[in-house]
């Protein structure tokens, strides 16, 4: 069983069982593959190099849309233009955090530097956003309902399994963020 993260002298310490590390690794990898930009044959290589994607458009997948949201609530044209300039680098920075977190999963004992902790918290957050879309969590009531699922012996279908995974990642992120807030306090 995983242990809650704790803020210590050398950084933030955590402990995960091998099965939990495998689970997290596959979750991080899944979100990475969702975020990887499609390679297009007719893509302008120079534009790609500077992060410009003239063909970017609002994702049709809801989970991806939540990871890469519109920047304007009611100006679709402005959102699209902004997306063309920024989406590629946003995808890359998210992938960077997910891969960094994944790399740290080689050992049972985790010791996270402030930068590692930030990557971990972002990676866990993105995983939870994706799981929440798959679980149809639309409001606090839905979230409360999913939260009731805590017993792994109840996992009998995909949805209950996803709910358990969601609750595990929620618990893990909460314990990590508490430790991060604590080290923020001690640093002043």
């Amino acid at each position: 069983m995983a242990k809650a993260f704790k803020s210590g002298i050398k950084g933030i310490n955590g402990y995960l069982e091998p099965a939990e590390r495998e689970l997290l690794r596959s979750l991080f990898d899944d979100v990475v593959s969702m975020l990887e930009p499609e390679e297009r044959a007719n893509q302008d290589p120079l534009a790609a190099l500077v992060g410009l994607d003239t063909e970017a458009r609002e994702p049709s997948d809801r989970a991806l849309r939540r990871l890469l949201p519109n920047v304007s609530k009611n100006d679709d044209a402005a959102s699209l233009e902004f997306r063309r300039y920024t989406e590629r680098s946003l995808r890359e920075s998210k992938i960077g955090a997910l891969k960094a977190a994944s790399l740290g999963l080689d050992k049972d004992e985790l010791v996270l530097s402030p930068a590692d902790a930030r990557h971990w918290s972002m990676a866990l957050n993105d995983v939870r956003l994706v799981l929440a879309e798959r679980l149809d969590i639309r409001d606090d009531e839905d979230a409360g309902h999913v939260h009731l699922m805590q017993d792994w012996s109840q996992a009998e279908d995909v949805e209950s399994y996803l709910a358990l995974v969601y609750n595990f990642t929620t618990w893990l992120q909460e314990s990590l963020v508490q430790a991060m807030l604590q080290s923020l306090d001690t640093r002043g």
Binding site: N125, V177, M180, L181
Partner: protein
Amino acid sequence: MTLSVALGPDTQESTQTGTVTWTDVLTAPDIPWNLVIWNDPVNLMSYVSYVFRSYFGYSEAKANKLMLEVHKKGRSIVAHGSKEQVEQHAVAMHGYGLWATVEKATGGGDGSGSGKGKGKRG
């Protein structure tokens, strides 16, 4: 901060293109924009507060106040600035997984963007 002096309400009334020009005035770079964070049922309150503290450098009290505003009212304006500044913040917030949008300040809130119009907004 004030609106551009080029076009007051008087000029507006005397031209046919007043509305169009007014829109131009509102998109001028010196008009403040808002960064808005929206509530969602997934992001942890502790995480949102952590992001406000570590990214914006807000105090614990300010970060928690804004976080609770997001949670209770559904949205909160967490930063102001030029369009470029708030857009940069928005990308950073999206990086953290927070749901952020930018909008033109309408001047209702703290008066910093109210200008001298007669309530006409394009």
